[in-house]
Symmetry: C2
Subunit: 135 residues, 2 copies
Amino acid sequence: MLKQDLKAIIEAADRAITAEDFDRLMDFYAEDATLVVKPGMLARGKPAIRRAFEAIAAHLNHDITVKQGEMTVIDGNDTALVIMETLLQSTDGNGVPTTETRRATYVFRRGESGKWLCVIDNSYGTSLLDVPPAA
Amino acid sequence: MLKQDLKAIIEAADRAITAEDFDRLMDFYAEDATLVVKPGMLARGKPAIRRAFEAIAAHLNHDITVKQGEMTVIDGNDTALVIMETLLQSTDGNGVPTTETRRATYVFRRGESGKWLCVIDNSYGTSLLDVPPAA
């Protein structure tokens, strides 16, 4: 079932983020995928996405745990929109634990091999409208 | 520019909804697109999407105006995620004007012809997580 398949893929990607296993993490992305690093800042393509995750790991003191909550999947034309509660646990610059919950929107596409790959990774969901769009 | 192109496509689709020109409206969808009719109810494929729009038009007394507000587009791999404020104006069963604002998430794909088609039409955005997911 698609929802369970995508849930397993996303949870495996979360484990790769926590383990800082960026080789493994890149397996989940299409070659020309786009990551919303933060509102107004995009990373396009695997090399840029990898650099962004490396920078995020350093910024969050190499202490990131990502967990997923409620999830809905809508698919059409070998494309799936995943709407998902994402819980981010980390430590700030002063060593204080922080927790942040977002409603993420991820877009996956099924490639010719039948494998689902992430093409748009936007953990900020519709909250992107809260800030002026990037130029 | 992609954002302007998609804005023009969405606004043309809005005009087709108001005019109840469902032939024209179907030109904007991929053959096996999915429409979120309401939380928990999906219409899959053009024939089902067309029937859903006909039912919505009847339900809203043939008086629907759709307008778009703030918009952000993220694209990757010939796929675009549009996050958009959508304003729905209509008349309820008692003839009272109603207005509803949503934050929609639309997924478009560029076909072989280069034309962008809507593959997932989810005007409810991340608010789908507010209700139990469809079985």
